[in-house]
Structures are given as C-alpha cells and as structure tokens.
Symmetry: D2
Subunit: 360 residues, 4 copies
Amino acid sequence: MSHNTFGKMLRLTTWGESHGEAIGCVLDGCPPNIEISLSQIQKYLDKRKPGQSKFTTQRKEDDIVEILSGTIRNGEDKFITTGTPISLIIKNKDQRSKDYNDITDKYRPGHADFTYAKKYGLREHRGGGRSSARETAMRVAGGAIARKIIPEIKIRAALIQMGPNKINRENWDWNLIDNNPFFCPDKDAIPIWQNYLEKIRKDGDSTGAIIEVVAENVPIGLGEPIYGKLDQEIAAAMMSINAVKAVEIGAGFKTAEMNGSENADEIIIDNNNIKFLSNNAGGILGGISTGQDIIARFAVKPTSSILKKVRTIDSENNNTDIITKGRHDPCVGIRAVPIGEAMMALVLADHYLRNRGQIG
Amino acid sequence: MSHNTFGKMLRLTTWGESHGEAIGCVLDGCPPNIEISLSQIQKYLDKRKPGQSKFTTQRKEDDIVEILSGTIRNGEDKFITTGTPISLIIKNKDQRSKDYNDITDKYRPGHADFTYAKKYGLREHRGGGRSSARETAMRVAGGAIARKIIPEIKIRAALIQMGPNKINRENWDWNLIDNNPFFCPDKDAIPIWQNYLEKIRKDGDSTGAIIEVVAENVPIGLGEPIYGKLDQEIAAAMMSINAVKAVEIGAGFKTAEMNGSENADEIIIDNNNIKFLSNNAGGILGGISTGQDIIARFAVKPTSSILKKVRTIDSENNNTDIITKGRHDPCVGIRAVPIGEAMMALVLADHYLRNRGQIG
Amino acid sequence: MSHNTFGKMLRLTTWGESHGEAIGCVLDGCPPNIEISLSQIQKYLDKRKPGQSKFTTQRKEDDIVEILSGTIRNGEDKFITTGTPISLIIKNKDQRSKDYNDITDKYRPGHADFTYAKKYGLREHRGGGRSSARETAMRVAGGAIARKIIPEIKIRAALIQMGPNKINRENWDWNLIDNNPFFCPDKDAIPIWQNYLEKIRKDGDSTGAIIEVVAENVPIGLGEPIYGKLDQEIAAAMMSINAVKAVEIGAGFKTAEMNGSENADEIIIDNNNIKFLSNNAGGILGGISTGQDIIARFAVKPTSSILKKVRTIDSENNNTDIITKGRHDPCVGIRAVPIGEAMMALVLADHYLRNRGQIG
Amino acid sequence: MSHNTFGKMLRLTTWGESHGEAIGCVLDGCPPNIEISLSQIQKYLDKRKPGQSKFTTQRKEDDIVEILSGTIRNGEDKFITTGTPISLIIKNKDQRSKDYNDITDKYRPGHADFTYAKKYGLREHRGGGRSSARETAMRVAGGAIARKIIPEIKIRAALIQMGPNKINRENWDWNLIDNNPFFCPDKDAIPIWQNYLEKIRKDGDSTGAIIEVVAENVPIGLGEPIYGKLDQEIAAAMMSINAVKAVEIGAGFKTAEMNGSENADEIIIDNNNIKFLSNNAGGILGGISTGQDIIARFAVKPTSSILKKVRTIDSENNNTDIITKGRHDPCVGIRAVPIGEAMMALVLADHYLRNRGQIG
C-alpha cells in the first residue's frame, strides 16, 4: 500500500506539491559504498528542467538538488552512500501562483483537478498541487542514483514521434539526442518538429508524443514471475508518469498483426556467443530479461493546459468554459524523455538488488 | 516482494505447474458475507477453457474448481465468504507430456524456456511448467470472486483485432461475444477471422490479437496517486498476462498524434448529471477514476509454439532448429479475453477495498 | 497488507479452517535447487501433532502433508525445489464437531470467538475456525523447508517453565528435549511437571508456559534497520502464534533491572576469534545479528478451553456461563515448542534471502 | 521490504543521521481534511527532548519541527491535511562531535557499532549515525499526527519500573506523569527513583526501565488475523525502538504462571453494556481488539554508553577497553515513554485505516 513509493528493494518515496515550499524524496535500499555526485544528479535534472527552450514551460526552476542524509561527504562533489535512506530536497523558488487565480473553481479537462477534488474533498488548484509533473523531478534525481547501482547497464531514451510526425528509424543517431531541444535521434525530423511545434504553440494548442527507452547490456535473469515480471513493472513505471496513456515492450502492439513465425526471435550461437536474430520480445521473455536490449515505448498525451477554450464545469456544477493560462509546455512529452530513462533505471536497479547473489 | 501474488488489499496468490498434480490459488482479503457459487466461477473458467473449438488447444481440461477454505456452505451451490483466505484448487487431469519429449533440450524461441533455465539453473520443460498460461485459470477463478465484491461494476471484454483484421467499431454488439468462438463483437468480422485463423492453423503458424476490456458503472475516486494509480495497476495487471506485449488506456497510443484541443474530454452538466463529451482518458485522470467507463486494450503476441521450423540452440549451446509439436492455440489471444476481464475485476475490487469507507 | 502471509522474501501464506476439508500453505520465494523430503517435514509436524500423550489434545490428526507444486520429484522421498511457489496441503480427517454444538452461541472467554464475531459479523464456532491453532501446522511445515535454506544455522527450542515451575538452567541438556512429552531440557523438572500437569488436567483446568528458542551459528549481519530489525521481526513472529502474550530477546525484561556495566556484553579477541563475554543482547545489536546465538523467549497463556465453569455472554447479549468441552491440551505451550522453532527458521531464512549477495 | 518505513496504510518513512544536517520523515496515507498544529506536534517532541533535566542527555536540541508538504495552512498554527505525503523535517543544530573522537575505532559494547560496521562495511561513528535514538524524534512527530486520525482513542504511557524499583500500582495517578522528570505515575516512587538515578549518574553508570502504554476507548475489531494481528504489530512496533529487549501484552509473562480459570477474562452484561471482569488479554483476543483498554509493556535496557571502563576490540581486531564519554542519559528508558505512546498511536491509526468502512 505504498501510494507514494515506487520499488521493492530500492524504494523511492516522493513528497511535495508543485507550489509548496519544496519537493523531495527518500531513496531507501541503496547499497552502501556507492559513489555519487550532486553534479551528476543535476545533469539529469537539467535535462528535465523547464525553461530550457521556448518549447518547454517558461516557469523558471533552478531545481537545485541537495542531499540531506544517507551519505558521507568524500570530496568537493563526492558522496559515498552508507546504506541508510538518502533524503533529497529541491526547494521551490518560482511559485508564481497568480496565473492560476482564474481557474480556482473550474475543472480543467484532462487534468486531475476533477478526480482529486472528488476523491479528497478539497482542491489544491495552484499548478496541480501533488498531481503536477513537478513530482517527476524527484524520479529523475532518484533515477540518477539508481544508475550508479547498475553502472554496467546503459539507459538512454529518445523522442520518436511528435504529434503525427515520426522519425525515420534508419537515421537513428544517439549522438544527436542531447544536441537538440527534442531529444530527437533523427536529424531530418528536427526541423520538421520545430516548425510543427512552433505552429502548435502559436495556436495556443499542444501535442502528444512517443518516447522510446533502451537499456543495453542488461544481465540475463532480471525479473520475477508471475506478478513481478520485468515487463509488468516497466509498464507500471511508465504508466505512472503523468499524462502517459500507453506502453509497449519490443514490437508491442505490432505483435498483434504478426504471425508466430515472423515474431519468433530466433537464437543462434555466433562466435561462441548466444545471439538473437531479432528482438520483437524487447529483451524480455516470460517476464525475465534475455540479455538483449530492453526496449520500452510510451505515449504521452498532449498537455491538457491549453489556451484554447474548452467546455467544462465548476465545482458548483455550473456549465462554463475555460482557457488555461500559465506557463505550459506545448509538448510535455519532450520532458518525459529523461523521466522515462529514470523510471527504467529505477526498475532495473530494483530488480538487480532483488536478484543480488543469485544471477551472474 | 510478492512474485506470485497480485493485489494489495485483495491478494491473489497462485501456485502450480501446468503438468503437475494441480494448480490453485489463495485469495486473501475478500470481505466476509459475500455469496459466491461454484457454478458462476466455473462459467468464467469455461470461457477460458481449452478444447472449446478447433481454434483453441485440444488439450482436454475439465478445469473443475473446488473450494477448500474461506467459506461456509449455504446450499447446493452457495457459499458464504467468511473473511478468511479462500483456497481454490483445480486438479490437473490431462497431463500428456510425451509430446514434449522432443523439445527437452532445446529452447523454444519466444518462450520462457531460455530465461527460466538461465535464471533458475534448471528446466521444467513439460508444457512450460510455471510459465504456462495454465496459471491464468486461477486468475479467472479469482476474478470471478472479485466481481462479487463489486457487483455494481460491469466488466466485459472482446477481441477487437486478430492478426491484421480489425473489427468495425460501428458494428459493436456486446450480445455477440458469447456466441462466437472469438469473443468478437462484430458480426461481419466473424467469418473473416474464421477463414483467417483456419488458414493460419493449417499452416502450422499462429497469429496475434488485441483485446479490449471495458468496465462500466465505476465509482469516481478509485486509484491512488502517485504510484498506485489505477491505470498504472491496470497496465501492470494486463502486462502480467502471458504473451502480452502492449497495453493502453482510452485513446492510448493515438493520443500521441492528437492536439490538446482534440484530446480534451470536455465536461458538461446535462440534466443535473456530470457528463463527459468524450473518453480519450479511458475513464482515468491523474490515476483516479472519473466515473466514465474504464477502457483498456492489450496486445497478445502470436503463440510461440508453432509447427514451423525456427532456428534455436539447445542447452549445450549447439545450433539446432525446432518444431514445437503439442496442442497449441493458433491465436492464444482468444483465451486472453476472459483473463483480461478477470484482471480488471481483480484491480477494481482491490482498489474498491483500498478506498472502502472513503468514497461514495 | 498480507494478513495471512508471513515474511518478505520468503513468504508463507496459510489457509484453511480447523474443521474444514483441509489446511494448507503456499511458500513463495524459496530458492531453486534445494533438496527437501516429506519425511523431514513430517518429523517436525509430528512434534506438534496432537494426541501424542495424555498431555495433548486427543483429537487424532495424522497430519499427513502433501506437496502439490514447486518441486521436481527426485527419488522416493526427495524433491528438488524449482523456485516456484511450493503448495502444501494437509487434509483434515477427524473433524468431530458435535462436541462444539453446545457452545454455538456462547463466547468462550479468552478465545477469539467474541472478536471474530464482532469483526466479521459471523461465527465459525467449530473448533475456532481460522483462529484455531491448527493453522500453526502449516507454519511448522513451512519452517521445515525454511531450515533447508539456511542449513548451517541450528534452531532448537525447549519448554523452560510450566505454570510456576521453572527449569534449573544448570541442568540444561538439549539431548533430553525429544525424549520427554514436554520438550523439557532439565531432567529434574520432568517428574515435577508431570505431576503438576496431571493435577491440572484432572481439575479440568489448564496452565501457561514459557518457551525458549535458540539459533546457533547465525552469520553476522542479518536484520535491517530501522523497521526491519531482526529482533522486531522475531517478536512479531512469536507474538503471531496463538495464545502468546509476551516475547523477549536475550536478557529481556531482566535488562530493566540491570546497570549498564552489568548489561554490557564485553568483546575480546580470543585465539583470533571475536568473542563476546556474555549474551544479554540475545545475539542482536541495533536490530542486526552479532554472530552470537540468537535467543528468544515467549509466554503462552493457559488454554482458554477449560472444563471449569466461567461467566460469559451469548451472541444475544444474555448473561450465561460456559464449560468448554472438547479435546483440549491442558498446557498448549508444549505444542508451541516446534512452532517457535518454525517461526525462528522462517524469520532467519527470510533475512538470509534479503541479504543474499551482501553478507558473508 | 520497507526497512525505514513503518505501517501499512499509514506509513512513516524516516531518514537522517544523528549528526547530519537534518532528520525527517514522510508520513504517507494520512487522510485529507484532518486539522493538525505544529505546536501540538512540538508538545510531544518536547516530552522526548533531551536536556530537560539532569537525568537526560545534556545535548541541546531545540528539535523544532517544520512541515514541508501535505497540508494547506489554515491559520497561525493550523494546517489541514490534503491526503498527500506529509514531509516533516528537524534541522540538527548541536552536532558536537568532538566528544566522539576517541571512540572512532573502538566498538562500543551494547551499541550497533559492531553490527553496522560488519554489515555495511563502513562506520558512521559520530553519535551512532542512523542507529542513534535521534531517529525516534520523527516517530514522535508522526505519532502526534496519527493521534489526530483516531481522536477518540486516548493513548498514554508511564514509566513503571526503573532499575529494580517498581511502582506501587495502587498509587497510579495519570495526573502525575507530566509533572515529574520520569513520567512516573506513583508519587511515592518519585523520590526513590530520583535518589537511585542520581547515584547511577554519579557512578558513570546507567540503568534499565519498563514502560507501560495504555490505549483507552479502542473500537472493537482492530487487528487482522493471522499475520496482521494487533498484538503482533504492537510487539513489532515496541521492539523496533532502540534498546528495547522485551514486550508483553496484558498479563504478559505472568500468564505463564496462571491457570486457565484465573486467566479467563469473564464477560458479563452490566447495565446493557458488555463488560469484561478482568483484562489479562490486554484488550486483544485472536489478534483483534476487544474494546477493552489495550495494555502493552516493554523493557528498555540500560544505556550502553557509560563512563565505566569495559573491554572491547577495535576495528583492527585488537583487544582494548573503552569509556564512552559524551552526553548520555543515565536511564534512556525515560525518554522512551513518549516514543512508546507514538508507536501505539501509529499502530492503532494504521489499523483504523485498514478497517475503515468495515467496523463501527
């Protein structure tokens, strides 16, 4: 019953509201004697940080993370974990809430306003309160530490579709992703997305996106049947990210159209190594990692806060309409890229710890 | 760390191997004073039962479920739950394992053979052992009891795509689903699927499918932010089903292509009732049910056991090839329909119990 | 929220009522490739079995345990675990319930009748239903398997006090415990207890007892601060046994009377080995095992079912009185000896698995 | 696997080391719309605060608690919970660590130094790091909020034995406990304890104690069989407190000496109310609350840090001896009184939430 906790052996508990004093997390279960640095955590936080370009919200957050416990300082920017809970905090600085005054009593379609108000009997309307994607900053921070637990596994993600615009997978270049505002791996797609998003933004509208997360060099044997399957927990991880409506592993929904003979990932011995001739399974069979790359994809719906007028009701059940002003991302999926990476890191580190001493 | 347990307040623990003496489950957390009947549980088991038509495996299983604890008998076919763990058992009758002799040492591509062998250091090759979909019979049995905990919620599922063949949603007729071997809701699709599957079967091949699960009359407020979101747990539930590679909620992957203004599910007061003008969210906002229908879709990959020869290796790392004889479903997705319903029932009943005393 | 499940990595889920068709358990999380035998499990069950002497209930139970899943048979009485859930069952044979007819509507003081009826709104009066100590047979069976996970640790228990009669610790002889009906380690105490219990039994009364459980050869480092402390989980384990009202570790309640200088377990290097000069801590410091013997003690209250008349009420809130006929142990603490051992084995094996790959 | 988390529905996760920058906790699962005040939380913290009299450590800690999330401010000292995680922090102010320099490499007998060093491979020697009782400040803060969830239940505790000196229960006066430095309910015991402790302190020694916690006005039906028993979880709660070595419920260890007829808590209808004629069960039968007062008792061993020289080893396995300077309580059991109350509040509030909607 851990509503604000993710993981089994490595447990991330997050707290804080978007417009409160601070947000933070407790990462419990991290082994001792792991070296971490604030600048490395900050590097991942910066990827997710708003205000990076005109394509992300102009809310200015420095998002400076501090470590309050669980480590011993071992140099300027070096900390050694001690095996005790790691407490991280980010103080909120730019809590401009006047933009939200107008919407106080109206439910924003697509937002959690309506369901939170009905469930909890009160409403924290400023910026979504706890339901704001600001919570995901702590996932990114936790994920940065999780990576240190499994340093041999390489986890990267890219935006592969923005609105109706897909990348050409033939062009995939990982080196590109940190050099464009979209984490796009296809140089041809970048200018197209740029124009597309510019138009969306000017229209006061927003658009959806698809993110692909890839984990390389995963050991064989991570994942627990029957209800602790690796793909099950990756699906849960990705679906827990704000605005995510779909997730797939490997060939995903495409497998529905395939024949068994097409879908079979044949296995051969090649130069004394086990080699799979394809990866429709996305690196997971029977819920357990095969040693191939793990591939997960998830869809992020368009930002619900838009400048276009939509019909809604207020808390007194009156019909009305709403334009959601404020500082919003036209494609919130962009900032979901580092979050998807972080969730993959948290799942894999958790499963690594669950299997420690058992698999190679 | 509950590898063989699903749920938090309502916990289904399953046990048993496909070719062992029996399979069973313990359903813990069911409230007292609920009336259940074996014939009702059996009805759902029969939907999943193999050997129903030439389109499902010819393995004959009567799948007769027995109740060993947790109830007081209250009539011929009536049992009253007592609040103690409900133990169900199905004795295996038709454990024909000679068909599997040939494959003893070969890994079947797409199967869990390879990963189980690597993880556990031994291999239960007869019919997949624990990784066999036979385990899902207990999910169906557990789901049948879960439905009784939330009798006001109606949960149904249908096959909406077989291989490349989609239904026409305009034709959707729930009355059809129990009257054709595919749980198909579109009368026009039935003959097409029949021909398609006949051909696949004759080819010794298999095909994938997509299942849609719909829950109607769901109360507002089920689901727990941030890491107990209703959609997160539905995703985990569906992804835990054998051969499932993708899951989506509401408009799912389509939301990636949408604008925010299209995607917004506008809200109005209509005749004093709250009414949403669309349901792209699939009945869930911020991880909490809105009161709309909950809609989940998942893809089942084609059966991995096929009569076509594919390349593989044996346990000694020799190159070889394999034809998987035995009695296999050409479209295992068909039998996933009642399993998807059961998982939805388990998730919703679990969340209902987690919220008992809190929401209307 | 695992009301009928004990443990984290090694999870014992029990089910069944005392007068139902069967009782059973699912032991999940047992590693693969461990050899177990039914006769060994049976040996521990036989220690707990009723009807062994006139000092235990005359209810005849063969308590024959069967394995339904989780193993591969490897010889007459040999089973190899596979890493999947182990399902054990004991069919109830001697469910004589007519003795209970009289008590149907009366609450038996000291029994769970009253609280179960109030909590669940119904009453399973035959032999206590789920609250019967019959459930503990499955703990003993599970504990027998748990021992195999940690074969180097030796776990034994003894009755050290019956009513007001204590053993003389100077006489402690482990070899005695399996050779008297009381698991008594002091030859001088045996005849005294025999006379005492005979008198109690003739009086239709019952008496309490204290059990001491000792685990030898425990590795250093088992136990997790802050809320997964080894002593905390041992306390929970023992207190979960029926009729237990107190538990202590090491010097226990005596530490309240001690000075710090007396209580200090001094440490020396003796012959290159770390040696503690005393063991007031009972082998646990800061919740973590020190490598010394772990010592736990628990008190079992006198059997509540007695032939002496006591005042009570019935379910209609009428004053009445009750004599609890049936077949009851005059000192239920005797049969708690193998149960205490089993719980210690379950806790230590669980912690061993939680630490696998981390400690020596 | 929640090593630093206590509770199921109401979950307290604590973090922080005694001599780090801060300590804190996240209380997850608190219902919305509960009014709390910092001054009330502070009141309980002040009871536990060191430096209150010469009988507690002279370490000066203001222990000023701050709320970082989970509430809406509703007045000077009023906060309304929102149902989201409540993050509390206490900044450490007086981290004088020079006193600890001498002990760097020596293991203090009775402390967690030895086991932490062996388990984690490193040592946080300043003040015990995570194993310090400073962690319990957050339990007290969390317990103060837990009380607000169950306002009808009254939870109080008292010190009933210091070293060999017991109170006279006939003198019990709850009004006394907040008016003496020992939380002593017996006016005659106060001067005796004062002299006793003064002598102990001058000797550089320490002494143990017994605390009794009483919860009044508990509803019938809290507690979950079989492994979520109320007494089991109270035992775990108390045993998780630093230096606790024993716990008992109701008559506890005394039940071992009793006959069944003495031990039976007879029930009568008195003036239309159910009334128990005694409370040997301590308010719990079959793991479920009876509606009587819940009574738990626990023993706290003497403070391990003493000014008397004891034998020990250093981290290089050399024989040595140690005098633990610093500022230590001669009877650490005194400050365990508010901690015991807090743990009882956390357990009862947790069980209350687990049963919400089910019992009266």
